[in-house]
Structure formats: structure tokens, C-alpha cells
Point group: C2
Chain length 401, copies 2
């Protein structure tokens, strides 16, 4: 009999608590695990010995927990070095912790990896398992990441509505979406498109550098054709010299009140792009929104599939820890479309730690300003059914008298 | 037998199409109405004679339409003067239009009023009815406005998630919410609060001018107490000299790239407030989001009550037009809480035209930085059931070994 610790790290997602519920409900089934401690605020809670007894939670609490966005145990941006990891291991030994489940991104996988190696060196019996989560969908090995489907659903629903809004009051609308390095979330902006002329009409991801001139020419072309244009832009969009536009704005005199470059939680990029379009294309109605933190923590908008998979990833981590010394949980797609399904497998921590994935080439159109049908087929099953809408402005007119 | 025209004006809402469906389904029942024309892009579509035959829409289309956000007939920001209204009346006479249903805000009520008076003067048999809509909830006479409950639901769900996000990664978070003159939508930020220490911890509405010093002192006090702070700010917030902060930002050298004052669709106010907090309170983690257009057009997040009432307002407009010459549809609350209900009544166009309502004093706390329980009791029935969440960070800790 030994104890287990579970914790959540990095940016919250809409289903990271479902993974926590998966760990809890599975851990209860295994007699090898005596106590299950939840560390508050990730690694910082471990070193402070700030633990909650998770086996005491009621069924009703667990039900609500699985539906709650954000990290219910709190999170941390600490990136533990050797010294930090040594402290963690000391606490684990003090509390007879043999099992460690860490729900997070590639940094969390790396933390698991470091601590596991440390334990091995000192001959301490220890099993570290990484449970994947990220709204960015940029972890290696796994087909996709828990947390992505729900964030993608938010972005898709936002664009469905925003495009209809832009139809009602035509002009140019720019939406800035999360994703510093990977364009998966920005690409999700196309998932709710129903009609041929539905927006977003242009999509820019960090994987395809673009000049301001090309951006403006693209927007102008759509605007001339449709009399309106909806653009989805990743916060990590960069110029052809690979410097992000946000950094460039900060370098000009046109930077916003902040003074420092911070991609999420500022409207600087959106406002800059809107100003460029307004000034250079002489279009009157130009608006820009930055989706910000809403897209990762909005309450009551989970993707069902995403929640179920997140929970299963948590469960599988516990199951694997009964057989293996360490690992990261990954998903393999077994079918698509109506036959969509996944199977879970264990991969080495080193395969996931510190690395990231980009939006594959086949998901981006040749011109670098749009998303392909291949992406829609990849991402739609993760999001589930999206709202079907009506716009009457395309309907036939009655003949003038 | 005569014809009818229906149209949608002003900013879209999440249920303005439900009102349209109400007009259509009710109009079909009345043999007095021969054709029902939908004017595309509001008054501008009327003068262009740009009409759709709405009786041809299928039941399935109407079902989807009622669930679709934004204005399916398109909208317009045109504010018709006498000359414009004369053109409208000319088109109505050409098309034998005796019934006019105009779904919109107080400007739309005014347009109805002008055209109706004009028709009366020239002896043209005509019935103009206004169907209320606005996310701002600022129309007179009616207890509340269709469109508000759905936008309020978005704001409440956003804040539920955002507060949990702020718990996970503590700091100061500022959310800028729509409402130039009325604080109803910003006030909705408190509707999802469950726990004593849930955010938003501070709420600022346009009805209560505030100095930057007081704002900063408030934020600092909460931050010192809780180690975090979530703030909801109305875009129309103003200083004690009654100049909006947005205008003030534009007047300083710190204005954003736009150069011009535009409250919605820019992150300038949010970024400015974040910069002030960061600089003056020396807090490291400060973030700000501007909810922008998402809050009025997000797809798939209607309040059921709001949609049903919006549809009924459309139906009632048609019913009243069988008995009366003109009017605006309004709601009176017949019960609250579990007994919530409304009854519909007709009011004079002049009572609604061009006027607006503010958030009543009893809905704002004495200090002018929070929202009262009286508001929650008023607004919650309009929004419906909100997600119940779990946060474990408040749970008891296990004793340190």
C-alpha cells in the first residue's frame, strides 16, 4: 500500500477537471493506492505540502467537478528545475507517495520525466504518469489533446455567431484567437461553416508567415467580392521574417498602453490589425475582437466527446501505473466521421516532454490564408454537433412591382 | 386583405430571430394579412424594395431560425428622418402594406411612430407595431427586453469560467462588458456566483461615475484580502466629471492604434485599465479581456425563457395589430423566482421611442462598486439555470506530517 498524488498544471481547459475525476474514480478501484492526495496549485502545492484528501469527495461533487471548467485544484506556471524536483521528491518520500499523476502539457510531462529519473537514481519506488491537456492541441504522439475539443467548440460557436452578426451589419471583422505557435484553435474557426459564403473567409495561423501587404490584399479581395469579410487570426501570427506581429507592434510607436508584449489578455494585435485595415483599405465599418481567456474557461460549453476522453485519459493513467513505471497517456483514432472512436495507449514521457506539434501542412490551404476540408474531418468529431443556423438574406427576393 | 412587412433593426441579439418567427407564425393565422414581406437590412431594404416572401419558409427553416443568433433579415444603423420615412411610406403604399412590424430598440419604436403619424396625416390606413429587442435591456415600460436574457447568460457563463480561471492562476483580471449607458449587462456578471469568494469581486456600471484612484483602491483592497481579484467593467464607465474613461484614454497620449473613440470592438479600455493596475499596484499577473461582439451573437447559448418571450413578443405584435392602430409590445412580470411569469401588453409607441432606462439604484450597492441581491432576483429568471461548478481549493487540507 502506498499513496498517490494528482495535480493540474499550466493553462486551464474546459475539461481538465474531467481528467481529475477520471484519476479519482479509477484510483478508488485499485487497492494498491491507499490515499489519493490532490496537490493545490500544482508543483508549488507539492513542495508546500498543500494537499486535499480526494477520496472524501462525494459522487455529486465529482459529477459537478467533471462539468466545471478550469483547474479545480488550482494551477501553477512554475517550471521546476532539478533543485525544485528534488524538493518534490523529498515531499513524496515523506508522504509515502509512489504514484504521481500530473495533468498538463509538455512541461508537465517533462516534470514527470525529471522526477521519475531522480527517483530511479536514488532507488525510490515511484511511478510518474502524465495526463495530456491543452487547448492548443500541440502535444506529440497523441492524435489530439483533451481540452482542445471544448476550446474549439467555443471558437466555432463564436464564429458562427460572429459571421451572422457581420452579415446583419456588413463590414470587416477580425477575430484574434489563442495559439502562440500552433494554429489548431484558430483553424477551429471554420468548423461551423454551413453556407458557401459563410465566414471566416480568411484564416491565418502561426505556421504560415505573412506580410501586412498580403494580409490587406486578401481582405480587400474578399470585401470587394462579398461586401464584407470575417477574418480569424492566430495571436501568434508572424511576418515573413518570423517575428510575430505582436512583437512588431510593440517595437513601433503604435503599441498599446501596456508597453510590454503579451499575446493573451490584450487587445493590441486586434486593434492594430483593425486600424491597418481601416486606414489602408478605407473601409468604414471595421471591428476586431480578441477572444482572450473566454475560449479556455467558458462555463457550460463542453464538448461531450472531449469530456469523456479527458476522463478516460485520467482513468488510463491510473491503470497504466499499475503495470508500468512511468508514461504519458495518448490517443489513437480508430475511425472517423460516424465511426469516430479512439483507443488509448501509453507512450514514453520523453516522447511528449518539451516538444510541440504544429498544424500539419495538409490542414492549411496553398495560399496560406485558409483551412482545408481535411482539417474539418479531423477536428469536427472532437467538437461534436454545432448549432445549425438560418440566414434569410440569401433567399430569393420577390419581384419588384 | 392587405400586406404586411416585418424587419429587424439595430444591433443583433441572440433571440431577435425568435421574434421574427413569432411574427411569421402569428401572421399566417390571420386572414387579414395577405402577404408577409421580410425587408432585408431594415429600413434600407424597404426603400430599396428588397423583400423576401416569408410565408414560403418551411417549418424546419422556422425552427432553425428561432435558434439562430443575429438578425436573419439583416440589420441597418440608418436612423430615418422625415424624408426617409416618407420614402418608406411610399413603398408601403405601392405594395399595399397595411401592417408593419419592426423588431428593434427605441430608435425603431421612433421610426414606427413617425411613419404612423405620417400615414395618419395623409389618410393612409396603416398599423405600425414595435417589437422590443436589445441586449442592453434599456427600453422603457417593459419589465425587461427580449435579447437581454441571452446576452446576460453569455456574460454570466463567461464570468463563472473566468473566475475559476483566476482561482487557478491568481492575479487581477478585468473584463470589459457591453453597455454604453446602462449597466444591466455588466451587472449580469454576478449572476453565476455560488461561493462567498467567487468573482467578480468588483462591478462598475455607467450609472456610477468613479475616479481612477477609487478604482485602484478597490482593486488593491480585494487583492490584499483574497490574493486575486476579478473585475467587471462596463464599456461606458465614466469618471466623476461624467466623461467616459474611453474618451479620456483617447485624449491622452496612451490611446491605442485606432486613434478614434469606439467603445465596442476595441481592447483599448481593457488594456488601459490593466496597465494602470499593473503600474500603480505593482501586481505581476494582470489580464484584461473585452467581450466584444461575442456577447450578443454567440451561437448555441440562448436563454430558453428569453427565446420564448421574444417569440411571444412577435406574436403579440401581430395580435395587437388586429385591434389597434399602433403600439409597442411590453412585458409585465406576474411572479418571480419559482413563480416567474410575464403577461404581455400594448403600450404607446411614444412611451418607448427615443427614451432609455438605466440600472435602478436598488440594483447597485452603496459604494458603487457592486451589484445587489435585488438585481439577482430580477435578472436570474430571465437567464435560466446556470452551470453549477466545483472548486476544490477551498476544501479542507490534510494535516502536514
Amino acid at each position: 500500500m502506498a499513496n498517490a498524488v494528482v495535480s493540474q498544471s499550466g493553462g486551464p481547459t474546459g475539461v481538465i477537471n474531467a481528467s481529475l475525476v477520471g484519476v479519482i474514480t479509477e484510483a478508488i478501484k485499485h487497492k494498491e493506492i491507499d490515499n489519493l492526495y490532490g496537490a493545490v496549485h500544482a508543483v508549488s502545492g507539492i513542495v508546500k505540502e498543500d494537499f486535499i484528501d480526494l477520496k472524501k469527495l462525494s459522487v455529486e461533487t465529482l459529477r459537478r467537478l467533471a462539468l466545471s471548467p478550469s483547474s479545480a485544484l488550482g494551477s501553477s506556471r512554475d517550471k521546476p528545475d532539478e533543485e525544485y524536483c528534488k524538493k518534490i521528491l523529498d515531499v513524496f518520500r515523506k508522504y509515502d507517495v509512489e504514484y504521481f499523476y500530473y495533468i498538463g502539457g509538455n512541461d508537465s510531462a517533462n516534470t514527470c520525466y525529471i522526477i521519475n529519473n531522480m527517483a530511479e537514481k536514488v532507488g525510490y519506488q515511484f511511478r510518474a504518469f502524465h495526463v495530456p491537456k491543452t487547448v492548443d492541441n500541440d502535444l506529440l504522439v497523441t492524435d489530439h489533446c483533451p481540452g482542445y475539443g471544448t476550446a474549439a467548440k467555443f471558437v466555432a460557436c463564436a464564429l458562427i455567431g460572429d459571421d451572422l452578426d457581420n452579415r446583419a451589419l456588413p463590414g470587416i471583422k477580425i477575430d484574434v484567437i489563442m495559439g502562440r505557435h500552433a494554429g489548431f484553435l484558430t483553424a477551429a474557426s471554420v468548423l461551423g461553416k454551413q453556407r458557401d459564403d459563410d465566414g471566416p473567409h480568411l484564416v491565418y495561423v502561426p505556421e504560415r508567415p505573412i506580410t501586412m501587404d498580403k494580409f490587406l490584399a486578401d481582405v480587400e479581395a474578399v470585401y470587394k467580392k462579398l461586401g464584407r469579410c470575417v477574418v480569424a487570426v492566430s495571436e501568434g501570427i508572424c511576418d515573413t521574417d518570423h517575428v510575430t506581429w505582436t512583437e512588431k507592434i510593440a517595437q513601433t510607436g503604435e503599441k498599446d498602453a501596456h508597453g510590454n508584449v503579451q499575446l493573451s489578455g490584450t487587445g493590441a494585435l486586434a486593434d492594430y490589425l483593425a486600424a491597418q485595415v481601416k486606414t489602408k483599405l478605407k473601409v468604414k465599418r471595421v471591428r476586431a475582437d480578441t477572444f482572450g481567456y473566454l475560449q479556455r474557461s467558458f462555463a457550460g460549453l463542453q464538448s461531450e466527446v472531449d469530456r469523456q476522453e479527458a476522463e478516460m485519459c485520467g482513468r488510463m493513467a491510473v491503470q497504466y501505473s499499475m503495470k508500468y513505471d512511468n508514461g504519458s497517456v495518448a490517443m489513437k483514432r480508430t475511425g472517423n466521421g460516424k465511426n469516430y472512436g479512439v483507443e488509448y495507449f501509453r507512450t514514453e514521457l520523453a516522447n511528449v516532454a518539451e516538444k510541440t506539434k504544429s498544424l500539419p501542412d495538409e490542414f492549411i490551404n496553398a495560399e496560406g490564408n485558409g483551412i482545408t476540408q481535411a482539417f474539418v474531418e479531423y477536428a469536427l468529431p472532437l467538437v461534436g454537433q454545432l448549432p445549425q443556423t438560418e440566414y434569410l438574406g440569401n433567399y430569393p427576393r420577390i419581384k419588384k412591382k
